[in-house]
Amino acid sequence: MNHSRFQEVCDVLENCNYRGDYFQITFRSRLITPGVKAGQFVHIQLPDMPHLTLRRPFSVFDASTDEGTLSVIYKVVGAGSTALAAVERGKRISLLGPLGNGFPATPIGRGIIIVAGGYGCASTYLIARGAAQPGVCLLGARNKADILVEDAFAATGFRVHISTDDGSCGHQGLVTELLDRVLTETAGASPVTYACGPNAMLDAVADMCLARDIEAYLSYDMNMCCGVGACFTCVMKRKADNADGWEYVRTCRDGPVIDAREVYREDGTT
């Protein structure tokens, strides 16, 4: 880990409903913001919840060092995210970050493919914003209401393709079907794939990229406690040079981004 991590009490500048169950919260953060890389996350303390003391991890969606602001897009799924959705402007909330390894920098002159399922768009937007050159962004979700920030991606110059399970927006089907097509089209540009979304989607992306010998980085989502590598809650299997062929690594510190070639699969595929 090169950059320092901070615990910072941040003012909430804005917290608004983005679409459906999704909210966007923006913090004033002078300490954490300058070090943020695409794919890193912040660990947010829940406000006024003395009986729920664990923080909740959320990817940094956008960060501006000049303005000292950092924002997160989150889905209301349980007690913690519900409490967060009720927070008003001016509230002070403790953030820990930037945490995790983040995505590697995009290479100059090669194809860049972003695959995002659901709130996976939050952790991949900074890739598009800072990309060496524009590429293709594939957004997948169950339905139109779960397709987020397509305009922000488009504004970076990336070509955006959408898929929904129910066909309410874009291609009807899986985002990996779009990926199959894009991988074929861009094969000549030795592309690199960056993906974040449900773990099953990541496994499918990994399979497709590995089969074509295409570099791919996947951001996994595991339950977390400490968020800094101290408690061993958030582990996932990574290939290792030991008798078992794998080891448990901490998603919060050794991840959340893992090279597709290193992911250990129970079924023995590589």
Binding site: T53, C226, V228, Y248
Partner: protein, 309 residues
């Protein structure tokens, strides 16, 4: 008024202040090095070390419950060799100006002895060993060392014979009389007691019908266990005359002081770190303020001073 002294004596082990981190919640110190000034801590207790590397349990490994946390990490650790030689572990801790406690565990008595003997031979920078006896003994039908008086005595005695380092025995709360275990392990050579380890617990998601951890049940920590822990510290303090490190749901200086009044010479902070890594520093500052406000110069003067009549 004279400057308040927080220096804490645990037998021959001297701490800058009575606040240490609890095993398993602070990694090996390095994980928090850029967030917490480690040299300000009274001490660091590392995650349990065993002779062999251990994968630990299948995830999910933790679940949050009302005012608490259930964990079933399964003692994942890099094993003794790597712990002693890799820069992320003991070599790093040797560079930190604080007391370092090495929590040790095994599946057989020989395992405990192997770790203790190896650390004894390279004991530079180690303040004490903390024996975690809340582990199943695979040679004796999986019964936990920590819930069987005979086994508890045997493991402590064996470790005692393997090292001259100060020994802390960490007791399980999951027995009828923790005080009996305290007497037993002190009789077998333990220099100190730490209490409490987590309490067996279970929680079920009613929609998925799955327990929150893969092992069905785990150990409860956090706010929820604090009053249980305070009572156990009190009982142990009356049963034995050795230093006690109290823990279980300490989030604030007020919590810590309660443990000290009940008889703890020092306190450990665990689950609270996940909420706020700065907790130990706040607790240290708060204890100082409390002592000043009561005109007490030495933190040792409050230990065990609960009024019971």
């Amino acid at each position: 008024m004279a400057e308040v002294s927080l220096e804490t004596r645990l037998g021959d082990v001297i701490l800058k202040n009575p606040v240490v981190t609890a095993s398993g919640t602070f990694g090996y110190g390095k994980e928090y090095a850029d967030l917490v000034p480690l040299e300000k801590l009274g001490g660091i207790t590392v995650k349990g070390v065993s002779p062999f590397p251990s994968h630990g349990n299948t995830p999910p490994r933790t679940g949050e419950v009302f005012a608490g946390l259930i964990n079933s990490i399964g003692l994942q650790n890099p094993g003794l060799d790597r712990f002693m030689n890799h820069e992320d572990y003991l070599p790093f801790l040797r560079t930190v100006d604080t007391a370092v406690f090495i929590n040790i565990w095994g599946r057989t008595i020989d395992d405990y002895v192997a770790v203790a003997a190896a650390l004894d031979s390279e004991s530079e920078g180690i303040a004490a060993l903390e024996i975690n006896i809340s582990c199943p003994n695979i040679k004796e039908g999986g019964s936990s060392f920590g819930t069987n008086l005979t086994l508890a005595g045997k493991v402590v005695e064996a470790v005692r014979n393997a090292t001259s380092l100060p020994l802390i025995t960490k007791l399980s709360p999951n027995v009828t009389h923790v005080a009996d275990f305290a007497r037993c392990v002190v009789d077998h050579g333990s220099d100190m007691i730490s209490v409490i380890n987590t309490y067996p617990a279970m929680s079920i998601d009613i929609n998925t019908r799955r327990p929150c951890v893969s092992t069905v049940a785990g150990g409860l920590s956090g706010h929820a266990i604090k009053p249980i822990a305070v009572k156990i510290v009190y009982d142990v303090a009356r049963a034995v005359d050795v230093p006690i490190i109290g823990m279980g749901g300490i989030y604030s200086a007020e919590d810590a002081i309660e443990f000290m009044l009940a008889g703890a010479d020092a306190v450990a902070i665990g689950t609270a770190l996940f909420s706020d890594p700065g907790t130990p520093l706040d607790v240290i500052a708060g204890i100082k303020t409390y002592l000043e406000s009561w005109g007490i110069n030495d933190v040792a003067d409050i230990v065990g001073t609960v009024l019971t009549v």
